[in-house]
Amino acid sequence: MSSKKLGALWLLLASTPAVAHTGTGLAGGFAAGFAHPLTGLDHLLAMMSVGLWGAFLGRPLIYALPVIFPGVMVLGAALGMFAVPLPTVETGVALSVLVLGACIALSLRAPVWVASAIVAVFGIFHGYAHGRELPSAADPAGYSVGFVLATGMLHLAGISIGLLNDIPRGVLVTRSLGGAIGVAGGWFLYRAVVS
């Protein structure tokens, strides 16, 4: 076989299909959905704060808040999917980081219904933000599974950090963390309002 034919054969064998459409299918949608809360710092901090604040509040909220937030988030996602107008979503998300961070920093022991209401309201904003992107995802079903599970994992991560409260000076560490989250929330809010 001549070298030209060998070269052509090699090129033919080495060629790959067009990979412009990455992230498709159930796995791609799941990966995109799972990454969405993790890659958005505002989402990540807010969802960890829900778990962390729940750890401060103890039973039953340590278990109730990670149930309420994802549940209400689904409602918010539905509003987003059906393009129901909801003004100032970015402001709502930023405010969630600020308020939850402040609640942790101040070690605020709210009654069950107050804490639940706060988390529920913010859950709508976060869900709406996820839902607005969901219909254009490669696989909306996989995307849905991904972002709900990621949300739950972040809540558990927050609760795990809250276990520091049981060690000496652990409360100081977690409250400082809450303060840092609150400051970040203030920065997000400033950007959301100014832009």
Binding site: V67, P70, V74, P135, S136, P140, A141, G152
Partner: protein, 63 residues
């Protein structure tokens, strides 16, 4: 998607059932939390099926 919805819903209910059987309090509560996520996913998948158009499912030039 219907299959996935049924699967998630069944799994959520199964985990909830298991949670009520288990005697260990913390594990039972953790399972209840996990089952709530699965049921939330089920609700979301159900809502997805009511969407008039889901761009992600429209065939593109690759398909």
């Amino acid at each position: 998607m219907r299959g996935m919805t049924l699967l998630c819903g069944s799994l959520g209910l199964a985990v909830l059932l298991a949670a009520s059987w288990i005697g260990h309090r913390h594990l039972s509560l953790l399972l209840r939390v996990v089952s709530s996520w699965l049921l939330a996913i089920t609700a979301l998948l159900t809502i997805l099926q009511c969407l008039p158009v889901t761009p992600g499912y429209l065939p593109d030039h690759v398909e």
